[in-house]
Symmetry: C2
């Protein structure tokens, strides 16, 4: 083993030990690791050198339960036996977008889950896809557990539609909207990733076990917690920052007031990721959180389907987003003769004015006048001695140039 | 009759003649009236002096059908016989907000209904309320004719809730959302105004005749067209600018893509009136226009009920808008005992701690501790030797200071 390799193994082991010794997301731990490297940060913490009283107490309590490096070594074994793997920032498959959590600061934050939002130290991953590759073109679809049939329908359609366009659908594996989005993606034969708040060997909730098995087969189960870790309540909220940061954008489908899903959205918006919200009936309690977000967060974007979502996230990937809709298109303004002349042109290639006139059932004089109008409107071009439909405008340029929201990944 | 009175009678007659000779909203006619006064403008037009070829042709065509002043005199008679009246800018009941149409310029407008948006020359009014007074605290509720039961429900609730708070509900008298909003207001015993695109003697559609009769009894029927005028198709769109301008704000409930109701909203937004939109299920074609507006018009505000509407329009009237919602309120943070103590205070007046304790089912010691906590949180005040609910914060100040939208009337 080379010196470099030894250093990597030590780094990995120390990161695993640190996720056990302290909870993921702790800023002071992240800063120590950035400054000293993971092994030295671990040594410092174990020597009682945590920079904060509260963290010193947490570390001291954990140390009475075992030796961090021994726990980490056992976790590595267990990970291997599971057929899972550990991914650290050293690995090619590290999803670099999560490092944007460095700039996450939530205004008015006071609870631990809102203040301790540092980037992850490492991930456990189950599934064949390289994590970075799966996440590159990805959209998070999140929402209520107690979703309505409307929300489930919309989430399934979004999951299906995104997967069909080869976007990875990321969610939290929960009942309701999460499960519907995962299922939609699976049904389209696409890739879906469940980011868990517990070990990847015992995904929660148990009622979704069959779903998790399908996800592990064709997509990925991902967690910041080691195998065997319990889905403790605060962990769901800590986990949400990863869903927000690892994806190209997040869509909220249904949420009651102040739900965990709206929290994911606030995290996404806080690091300038597209934050998209599907509205619903104002008579539904399950859309209150969605409408609140749209009212309170100027950057949140109302979306009604896959096309709108791709308009937002398409900018960050290689996708061809549909052109942004103007209030009116030239073709809407045509009179009946111009419309019929336009429709008389072939889908490919050119046609001469006589043939156009014959097809359209108008005189050649009228055909020529309307063709010249259509040319002026940019709907028709002269080619090969006749007229042809104008090529569509450069859609990527149009989408990038005119999309009103600002955030990109 | 004094010289002034004669001038007023002549002005009124000329305005009536002009609405017959040219269609309401024509800018060049409005400018002539502003510059020369209505009688001279009428004389100029009748002499073939219209500044535009097209207007000259319209005037010439109309002149073959009758003498404008004779037509106007007959219209005045007919108006009297109907028990209706004509209102011009000279009258105290002129709804001055419509003069804001002077600054209405719609971007990209090319169709006549989008370009000819000048302020009205006069109104026909049926009903007892002075028009200006009825319109002072008013909200327009507009939407699809082919509304869904969801939309009808929301529009009825809005109409009812606004009327209950003594806001006038203005709409166009059409089937669907318009009728639901009018009915909601009538059921609350409130004032509602139907702005018509035809004579006030023959409100359209005929299927709403019973509704129009109820409106005329307790509210107002209003039109820019003289009695007997037909509800020609373009007149509905011309009429929409009055609904947008005469009210303190407009709410769109349901609309298909590019409906007439979204047009009313664009007019309202273009003159900086609050433009509010109720979202709906993205699976409903009847919400497509609403969602489009919210996506395309940054100033359009998503609202889910009367409280949100009053937040927007309350700024312009004397209404107490509810305080803008913060992300968390002190009362949300209370423990069970504090909550029950708070709920044990009377809605008016004070109660002594013993009585509070008895009502809350807690010891006097606990009651005192919780009352002191509630006092610190600003939820409770000491009064008359006991404790009372704190008065609500100055709601008008809160609404004016923190409401994010910008437009006012």
């Amino acid at each position: 083993m080379s010196g470099d390799d030894t250093a990597r193994v030590e780094d990995r082991l120390a990161r695993v030990a640190l996720t056990w010794l302290t909870e993921p997301g702790t800023w002071s731990v992240h800063r120590l690791v950035e400054r000293l490297g993971a092994p030295a940060a671990l040594a410092l913490l174990c020597d009682g050198g945590a920079p904060e009283e509260k963290l010193r107490a947490t570390v001291a309590a954990r140390l009475t339960a075992g030796d961090p490096l021994a726990v980490a070594a056992r976790a590595l074994d267990r990970t291997d036996r599971l057929g899972a793997r550990i991914v650290t920032p050293d690995d090619a498959e590290w999803p670099v977008r999560v490092d944007d959590l460095r700039r996450l600061a939530l205004s008015g934050a006071s609870r631990r889950v809102d203040t301790e939002t540092a980037p992850p130290l490492c991930f456990w991953v189950r599934g064949a896809w390289p994590l970075a590759e799966a996440m590159e073109r990805s959209v998070a679809v999140v929402g209520a557990r107690a979703a309505t049939s409307y929300g489930l329908h919309v989430a399934t359609e979004l999951g299906y539609g995104l997967a069909e366009r080869e976007w990875t659908v990321v969610s939290g594996g929960a009942f309701g909207i999460d499960a519907a989005a995962h299922r939609g993606a699976l049904n389209a034969g696409g890739v879906t990733v469940a980011v868990l708040a517990c070990g990847v060997d015992r995904p929660y909730p148990v009622g979704n076990t069959a779903l998790f098995d399908r996800i592990a087969e064709t997509g990925l189960l991902v967690s910041e917690w080691m195998p065997g870790a319990d889905p403790l309540r605060p962990r769901f909220l800590i986990r949400n920052r990863v869903i927000a940061a690892a994806t190209g954008g997040s869509v909220l489908v249904e949420a009651s007031a102040r739900s965990g899903a709206t929290q994911t959205m606030r995290r996404a918006l806080a690091i300038n990721r597209p934050g998209m919200v599907v509205p619903g009936p104002v008579t539904s309690a399950m859309s209150v959180g969605a409408h609140e977000l749209l009212r309170e967060q100027p950057a949140a974007r109302l979306v009604t389907g896959v096309a709108h979502v791709l308009e937002e996230v398409g900018r960050i990937g290689a996708d061809l987003a549909p052109p942004a809709r103007g209030p009116r298109r030239p073709a809407d303004e045509l009179d009946d003769e111009a419309t019929v002349v336009l429709e008389s042109l072939p889908r490919r290639g050119a046609r001469d004015p006589d043939a156009v006139a014959a097809r359209a059932g108008v005189s050649v004089r009228v055909a020529l006048r309307k063709l010249s109008l259509l040319e002026e409107l940019g709907l028709v071009v002269r080619r090969d001695g006749g007229y042809a439909l104008a090529p569509p405008p450069d859609r990527r340029a149009a989408a990038a140039g005119s999309s009103p929201a600002d955030g990109t990944g």
